[in-house]
Symmetry: C2
Subunit: 558 residues, 2 copies
């Protein structure tokens, strides 16, 4: 069977799996770019559906535990909204309503019978990037060649989430190969940005970004090897957390670049509240994932570290802002996001200094070279069974595409060359750590900088085909710093005017500058990235909460 | 200059660095094989030197802290004994008496002036495998081509040890390339086993093994990527601890196979008491090494885990003994070591079951293939500057050598092939963890097996050229289980008779069987290996203490 036909049948099967009564007839026209409020304002959802889907994770869990809302009710409400989100932005891959509702029913019965919740996530529906293995469900990750590969068992994460009482209910869209900051593949097509559908939702966890932003899921799980949690979170205006390597179990998830081993993709949460990311992280660790996935670090959630024992117990902190990486300058709204953050932190009594970027270009090149080492062969092997083409552009109309952002060398490199790259990587990590330690002389706290704040990308969500430049996210996947994405505001053409600029760091910088036009990016979310030190997930979450609270407190005045 | 001349000059320089008054004139003849008691029985050391060098780490630290003994005194006593050990077994590389004594003097003055110790290891001399970087000292690791490369700064471990008050005082011998279970190179020559000099001291931390056994150092640091701490510890009858990846900082140490990245060499202690290994590990972690070496896991010493919170708080434990890996059966004395251990544990009230080996051959092949991926090129690059030959046999007389244990493919393999090996590695780790978890049905404790006990090697210390078969150590470097070596007894020809055997697992098994002859191995130490789970260093130390105490308690009766 031709790959086109396999893809078409799979897509048709996806449509069949949606209950017809959940399909919306009053969809906005294709010309309507901003659809973020559609689910809440239209009458496709009942009042209760709307109340539930607008609730925070904390309040959902409380109302589920008290039986105010059943899991069947909560799952149904989110499922209905997810289907609306799907019609608006094409964010879903696998849809399995009956199975999710059966699971929700079991949980409701358990609670009714025993009076106790199954676990910390009792009854909560959770969406999952397509990579996450769920028994008897496909993980095609956009490869037509992978259609029909049903998982023989759950991934470790799904086992853990289920033991916590969660309800996996949808899987979400990704770009073919996963190596894009946008989301498009030959099976499920393109995911768009709900704030402005002429823009990308980011990638590779782009389905999650759009779905969570539209409140079609209270909590989602993405993966990140170069920014794939952070770019969609930032582009779609939601929180997203990239933990360090091997704290959340990856076993049983499918992947591209499988075997790269020295730069690791990680799993992490996306959510409309920061608190939800903490709830997810803490709950997963409570199940001792190191006893189930041999790669997971044997380290419990540390309340001590969350209470900032290594950061003066959270009193006066010193943050450093990296305004610009010296390679591609951020667009005006991105800069405004950092300025708002600085003002909010100063108002909250913290110190803010400037961060001097350190070898960002070298770090980017090194990680790129490592993950590219055998990527061409990896992609070729993946598409070989059906002969589907490898996608080379994310543009709407694919004519004379430029080389893709990620174009690994044909044939790869020898292992010895890879070893040399690893030595370079280790040196860069050491130097960057030393660079951070040396800030102790500038902070006034007696400690080095507590956390670094930077753009998440040099642009807000970009037009399709131009987006997802990973210069501000990719270096962290080498440095292995945990990073939280915090939404700050949205592009406002009146505030975010284009300023004249004559000197440029690089050709890429000039190109990026020229792309900016306030009208094009209207409404696109603005986000910041907060980075802690390797393994400091607890402290990074706690400091992100401090920053987030400062931003929320400052908002009325901004 | 020819490599032979460079090596000869370096060796002559080493001899020059020994104070002449410390050289012993009454050395035993070369025919005297067992020299383990020579330092204590001859009069090359004063009574005080002997008292000091026979003391445990705990009592040394107590007497140093109370100023009963000065650090200058303690360092001098150990230095003198180390020089005796050097004359007996050729275990040292770098000797820097003045520098160590100057450091000891500083510490003494600090204590005298302030009344407080500098840190948890105040005044304690520590020996270091040649790889460990010390400012202005060479780390040739037996490569003639590396003579003259003086370290520009301390390794992170040395900085930490010095901040704890330790006194680095000698470096110790290794085999060229480090990929041998014996110790011989073109610069420093061969290290022999102090219990029987016709046998190897093991490798690659073979200098440490011989030095610690002769009590020429109270505490030593080795490295392990395939057994290099455990083999010399076991062959020389001392304790040796291989922690999981990245708990002890490696930054600033030199290495072979540099850049291998997916199988990591680790640093760990060798000592005459088990308590010394704990002291070392806990002290290093107390200095938050993750703030100095970016690869170190951000995890404090856990007293909770040391108190066996995950193992029923240390009440009744269930150990599993792997008597035999199904590839190479252990020699009779090795088996006797396990039997003694089983009896001691049963007498102490614990349960002991049999461990079923899981894919040991596949695991061994996978790790071998990964570390061999670019090793030939790595070795070639290292020896290129002087043209010294790569050593292909550890035999005394190198005629028609068999291929060395480790003979990586010329030219290496492509990165894509390496990625496939990494996938296999991950699967093997997952399967082995599942295999361990499944023992829950056999233990009677409600938990899976608490720790696995196995041979350290299929033989006691072997004759030169036959030793260091890593089948019982290498798999752990892939599985990343922490492992403690505990000395149990010594080969006794009356007890350890050769039994007839007709069926063999493999050609290697037959060869190993045929090599055994009680007289050849007389006096060689017998050791066991105790394995915990990845990242469970604290619990592995605690369970090793339980086993060690059981063995000591049983000894009078055995």
């Amino acid at each position: 069977m031709a790959w086109q036909q396999i893809a078409a049948e799979k897509k048709a099967h996806q449509l069949d799996s949606v209950p017809k009564e959940w399909l919306t007839s009053d969809l906005p026209s294709e010309e309507t770019l901003n659809v973020i409020n559609f689910p809440q304002e239209s009458n496709v959802l009942s009042a209760l559906d709307r109340e539930i889907t607008e609730s925070s994770v904390a309040s959902l869990l409380a109302n589920l535990a008290s039986s105010k809302w059943s899991s069947v009710q909560v799952t149904t409400s989110f499922y209905k909204r997810a289907i609306v989100a799907q019609q608006l932005t094409n964010c879903l891959t696998e849809i399995f309503v009956d199975r999710a509702l059966a699971r929700a029913k079991e949980l409701d019965e358990h609670l009714e019978k025993t009076g106790t919740v199954v676990g910390a996530l009792h009854g909560l529906p959770i969406s999952l990037k397509d990579q996450v293995g769920i028994k008897q469900i496909e993980s095609t990750i956009g490869y037509v060649s992978w259609v029909g590969k049903f998982a023989e068992k759950n991934s470790v994460l799904i086992d853990i989430l289920e033991s916590l009482g969660a309800v996996p209910f949808v899987k979400t869209n990704v770009p073919q190969t996963l190596m894009w900051g946008e989301t498009f593949n030959h099976i499920f097509g393109r995911t768009t940005n709900p704030y402005n559908r002429s823009l990308t939702s980011g990638g590779s966890s782009g389905g999650e970004g759009a779905l969570i932003a539209l409140k079609g899921s209270p909590l989602g799980v993405g993966t990140d090897i170069g920014g794939s949690i952070r770019i969609p979170a930032g582009f779609c205006g939601v929180y997203g957390f990239r933990p360090s390597y091997n704290r959340i179990p990856y076993a049983g998830c499918v992947n591209t670049l499988d075997g790269v081993d020295s730069i690791l993709s990680v799993l992490g949460p996306l959510c409309n509240t920061l608190d939800g990311t903490k709830t997810f992280f803490k709950a997963v660790l409570s199940k001792e994932p190191w006893l189930k996935d041999p790669l997971v670090v044997c380290k419990r959630w540390s309340e001590e570290e969350y209470n900032l024992i290594d950061h003066g117990n959270g009193g006066k902190l010193c943050f450093a802002i990296m305004w610009d990486n010296g390679i591609v300058a951020p667009h005006p709204p991105v800069r405004r996001g950092l300025e708002l953050t600085k003002a909010a932190l100063l108002a909250a009594g913290h110190r803010v200094i400037d961060w001097t970027p350190y070898k960002q270009a070298e770090i980017t090149k090194n990680i790129y070279d490592i993950i590219a080492a055998a990527a061409a062969e990896d992609f070729k092997t993946a598409v070989a069974p059906t002969g589907e083409p490898i996608i080379t552009s994310m543009a709407l109309i694919q004519q004379d595409p430029e080389p893709p952002l990620f174009s690994p060398p044909e044939g790869g490199i020898p292992a010895f060359e890879l070893w040399q790259l690893h030595k370079k990587k280790r040196d860069l990590r050491q130097e960057h750590l030393n660079h951070w330690e040396e800030t102790v002389s500038q902070t006034g706290t007696g400690r080095p900088v507590d956390a670094i704040i930077s753009p998440m990308a040099p642009t807000p969500a970009s037009p399709h085909g131009l987006g997802g430049i990973p210069q501000y996210t990719l270096p962290l996947n080498l440095l292995d710093y945990p990073a939280m994405i915090i939404p700050v505001s949205n592009v406002d053409p009146e505030l975010d005017v284009k300023e004249p600029r004559e000197a440029f760091y690089t050709a890429e910088d000039r190109e990026n500058y020229e792309q900016y036009d306030p009208a094009t990016y209207e409404n696109a979310p603005i986000a910041i990235q907060v980075m802690g030190r390797t393994g400091e997930e607890e402290a990074t979450i706690a400091m992100s909460e401090i920053i987030d609270q400062a931003l929320r407190a400052a908002k009325p005045k901004l």
